[in-house]
Symmetry: C2
Subunit: 361 residues, 2 copies
């Protein structure tokens, strides 16, 4: 895939910096140090990093060829340049020149500092990171990680819903703490969990605070220790509120429409449009900042939001993709509701990895 990406642009090398999911995916090595991964059109791969990480990377990384900055003349360069980043940039240029590079491709998020120095020495073009596309289709090991995360959420949620329904004086923060604790003891780290209520819940990413009003929107996206996410939302209606109930019914129906469509070969955009149509058929219009104001879903994996996006852009779904399906409705004078499940795309349909009651009223 990387070689194809290099070829497609008539380039010789692909270079990527550390500090993102693609780098970990490509190298299977984590460090807070600044590192680079270089792939050549001939299939060579090189990881460069500080000497201090060399032995560990030789044990842990998937990449076979690893060199330290120090092995590549860092000490002399830093003396001359007095700037670690400049010294590392010179090492990058030197390696690429030794490889007779003429054109180098870099991913969209490649840091401009290094890109501008590469530009002075080579033709440089930005591309969509080929690993982003590779990551969109999960292997069986990755599916198992996400499946396990989803199962843990499903274990925890009956208790959470009961607590919310039984204790009408709980605050949003209290529910968030209980939920995050239950997931923590199962090995999952949750941050920025949304427990929002009232009119402010009309902002999809409002985290929520204070006393729970007529309903509670709970959106949690925990990560396990290997770095894999899950993502799950339920809306609990606590006090009779016909508007919220109708909105919740509509998003549940819209989600069903998506579930029926999702399978290998389908265009995500068609699914998104069908979800929009279903919400409209329930009488819920979308205008500017109200209604169904986000996309239908997104891939999950080493990032909580990754490819494929199920929204306004064409994307062919493939077996092994793991995506969220999360229609929502948001009106400033009412509030917001959303249901969200994780599904695995298969040849003939989809498997819901987070099977749990949706109409909670």
């Amino acid at each position: 895939m990387v070689i194809e990406a290099i070829k497609e642009k008539g380039a010789d090398f692909f270079v990527m910096q550390s500090g993102n999911a693609n780098f970990f995916y490509a190298t299977k090595f984590r460090s807070s140090s600044m590192m680079f991964y270089i792939a050549g059109i001939d299939g060579t791969e090189l990881l460069i990093l500080p000497e201090m990480e060399l032995r560990r990377s030789l044990r842990e990384s998937r990449v076979k060829e690893i060199a330290s900055y120090e092995m590549l003349g860092y000490e002399e360069k830093i003396k001359e340049l007095k700037n670690p980043k400049m010294a590392i940039a010179e090492i990058l240029v030197q390696i690429l020149k030794e490889g007779r590079a003429r054109k180098v491709v870099i991913p969209n998020d490649f840091p401009s500092f290094f890109a501008f120095i590469l530009q002075k020495n080579f033709e440089v073009e930005v591309i969509d990171n080929p690993f982003t596309k590779l990551r969109a289709v999960k292997n069986s090991w990755e599916i198992a990680e996400i499946r396990e995360n989803c199962q843990k959420i499903i274990q925890v949620f009956p208790k959470i819903i009961k607590i919310v329904q039984d204790n009408k004086k709980l605050s949003c923060e209290e529910v968030k703490n209980i939920l995050e604790n239950e997931l923590w003891v199962r090995g999952l780290i949750s941050e920025d969990t949304i427990c929002s209520t009232g009119k402010l819940s009309a902002d999809p990413h409002e985290v929520g605070s204070g006393k729970i009003e007529d309903h509670l929107l709970i959106d949690v996206f925990p990560r396990n220790r290997k770095g894999y996410y899950a993502d799950f939302t339920r809306t609990v209606i606590i006090n009779q509120n016909p508007e919220l109930k109708e909105m919740l019914s509509a998003v549940i129906d819209a989600q069903k429409v998506a579930f029926r469509m999702l399978k290998e070969g389908v265009n995500g955009k068609d699914v998104h449009n069908a979800v929009k149509d279903e919400l409209k058929s329930h009488g819920f219009e979308t205008r500017k900042d109200e209604g169904f104001i986000h996309s239908t879903g997104h891939g999950i994996g080493l990032e909580v939001h990754e490819e494929p996006k199920i929204g306004d852009i064409d994307v062919e779904l493939r077996s092994g993709m793991v995506v969220t399906v999360e229609p929502g409705l948001y009106y400033k004078n009412v509030g917001g509701v959303r249901v969200e499940d994780v599904v695995l795309i298969k040849k003939d349909g989809c498997e819901i990895l987070t099977p749990f009651e949706r109409f909670l009223a």
Copy 2:
């Protein structure tokens, strides 16, 4: 500071993308969405983001002027370009052109995708992010956050050390779990905590596994819910091992040398050199990948490693900086030892924010 950085380069605007500590520091707004912060030489500031985040950002962000992509023509642009990133890039260019930009400065880590498009329209230069420098000196509120984190570590450590000393059959993983749990219940999130032992601990970032051998190196860097870190290391010698004991004594002495020097106005490089000299005077040489193979310390705040670096590069320490002091010694045939404390730089000295016994043998 931002205006000065723009002026210094003869530019008109500074542009930064979201997804890093500087962006949160500058805007006081967090979102997983792609957002941009634009500062003009005339002091104007603009935050641009998806419509879906508009109301929340108007409530939460420090930046007064906020516009959504949708307000800036996103819908038409996406129809024409079929690529969200391209549409956003066009919006960026449009805003800068309306501001009559000729030269734009961007931070080192600005994504190349957007930088290359800016280059087609303006003169573009990369600079060290001015917010990185601002963040190095903490205000009283930030110091309070870090101080509280440090106090929580100090609360937890007596228990951890006792457990390690009393239960010689514990594994590294068990200690890590107990420690991370104790910090979690106090509101701190720890990941990738190091509990390493034996010869592999000669790699400073080896996380550790299996039965504890002669010693345990515990390095934990928890973060609170506002995003602030602490960073702390102790080495516990469990079985008599004269080599490890001598190494531990040496790093403790080296740390004392640093504590005595640290104050406003001092050059971090001089501190680092004094630490190196002290370790040498104990007979511990550094060569290639053994000895004292990393720097003396680093700033902590919204990132676990931030400015200032106390190492081989000149840096003037200033009152209000919060840094780690963490000499270590690593030998392949013995293992590694390190002690690490967090200190606050003051006018006439430094305050150790993590006062806790060092010689644990």
